[in-house]
């Protein structure tokens, strides 16, 4: 692994996004989305856990996100990841998709504020980034009757009713809170794991 170091450090002073960085962003996007989808599909069977997905996805996916932004170290990595996420997961409802992209832009701005050096900012940016997990649910907040009709068709009446019962006015705030808490736990895990494994191997 140590041998590869001269190959994978593109030079942290190099500001321009090279093809190699684009490849990293796209590939991490694939990993992120596969892990996210597996988590959502496994949890989605049970209504209450479905509501809680921002928490779990935040915990599991934080490591992947952190590794991606730490590896690329330039403007654009979080944005590309966010756009891939938005297009694949929340394209059902257009405003939700734009909100997801907005979350990615904000995360990118947080990284920019830390000048792609500050470790704290890398961690904080995931708190913002993980807000995009709320976006697939915007359909449920703003377009409720359609969502319920869809859930009835998809999973049957009981499932739809139990989701509807949970989806009251405070749900958006609850889920934003969950996303933040999940991201926080995830970030703590991620920084420990990155310190334990990836820094030693000279990957980031």
């Amino acid at each position: 692994m140590a041998k590869k170091e001269n190959l994978n450090t593109t030079g942290k002073s190099d500001k321009k996004l090279r093809v190699k960085d684009l490849i990293f962003a796209g590939a991490f996007g694939a990993i992120y989305i596969v892990v996210m989808l597996v988590a959502v599909m496994a949890l989605g069977m049970v209504p209450i856990l479905y509501i809680l997905t921002p928490l779990f996805v935040g915990i599991v996916c934080a490591t992947i996100y952190e590794l991606c932004v730490l590896k690329v170290h330039k403007f654009g990595a979080a944005l590309i990841l966010g756009i891939l996420f938005a297009v694949t997961s929340s394209s059902a409802y257009l405003p939700g998709m734009f909100l997801a992209i907005l979350a990615a832009i904000l995360a990118e701005l947080v990284l920019l504020a830390g000048k792609y050096k500050s470790k704290m900012m890398f961690l904080i940016s995931y708190l913002v980034f993980n807000l995009n997990m709320v976006c697939p649910f915007t359909n449920l907040y703003f377009n409720r009757s359609k969502f319920i009709a869809m859930a009835t068709e998809y999973y049957g009446k009981e499932y739809a009713e139990s989701v509807a019962a949970l989806a009251t006015g405070w749900l958006p705030f609850l889920q934003i809170g969950l996303a933040l808490v999940g991201a926080l736990i995830g970030v703590i895990i991620a920084s420990a794991l990155i310190k334990k494994h990836f820094e030693k191997a000279g990957i980031v």
Partner: protein
């Protein structure tokens, strides 16, 4: 590298443009979310199976068509039976629904992955004058999905040798350990694949700003125009039906 996994269309009957395949993929997304009628999904799935045959993947088409048939039968039986216990009913309904509505998306994704070379994909989108910064992540994204599955399988087998078996019980009892033992090796091996990919693209001169030429000929043929027309027709038709169904429900 398993060639079948990474896409070739040497024995296809007609060459379908990567852009059409991409449109099919987007269309399946719209289908699954905008319309929630069984009929639309079935029509779309059958169309996808036919496209698979046209692309020379007869066995994939046959397998998926059979699977779809079995699931449809199961759904029909479920809808008519009232006596079964509700928990099992709910679970099986949920499973069959996820399968049904996920089917077009997964199939169209497979279509892109299995029958498109990366060079074709890049050439087609470069012909549309899209910026390289947008094309490369998307191309890599599609190229990397099978790799993730492959690495995951590898890690799972390797960990099974050491007596670490991934199961729901394990995840609930030791969530921290599961993340560390499964995710970290997968990320490690994925990163080395990424580095090889990056080196390969460097060797092909992707990093220059000069416009690249390509061996691959990309052109919208008659088949593509017909497919796009059928596609738009189906989507418009089913979304209208979907909304009509919703109107009836309210």
């Amino acid at each position: 590298m398993d060639l079948i996994f990474y896409g070739e269309d040497d024995n296809s009957l007609v060459k379908i443009d990567p852009r059409t395949k991409f449109l099919i993929f987007i269309g399946s997304g719209i289908m699954c979310f905008a319309s929630y009628s069984d009929l639309g999904v079935i029509i779309y799935s059958v169309l996808l199976c036919i496209i698979f045959v046209l692309c020379g993947k007869k066995f994939t088409a046959l397998k998926s068509a059979l699977l779809l048939g079995v699931m449809l039968y199961l759904r029909m039986v479920l809808k008519n039976s009232q006596g079964a216990p509700s928990v099992i009913l709910l679970l099986v309904t949920a499973l069959s629904t996820v399968f049904m509505f996920g089917f077009p998306t997964v199939m169209s994704l497979l279509l892109i992955i299995k029958t498109t070379k990366i060079s074709q994909f890049l050439a087609a989108f470069q012909a549309m004058h899209l910026p390289v910064k947008l094309i490369i992540p998307i191309a890599v994204f599609f190229r990397f999905l099978p790799t993730v599955a492959e690495e995951w399988n590898g890690v799972r087998k390797a960990m099974a040798f050491r007596g670490i078996i991934i199961s729901p019980v394990q995840i609930i009892c030791h969530p921290w350990r599961t993340i560390e033992y499964m995710l970290i090796p997968m990320l490690f091996s994925s990163i080395s694949v990424m580095e090889e990919l990056a080196a390969a693209t460097m060797a092909r001169g992707m990093d220059t700003d000069i416009k690249r030429s390509s061996y691959e000929k990309v052109k919208f043929s008659v088949v593509d125009y017909i497919l796009v027309a059928i596609l738009i027709g189906i989507i418009v038709f089913t979304t209208i039906i979907g909304h009509a169904a919703k109107g009836g429900l309210m």
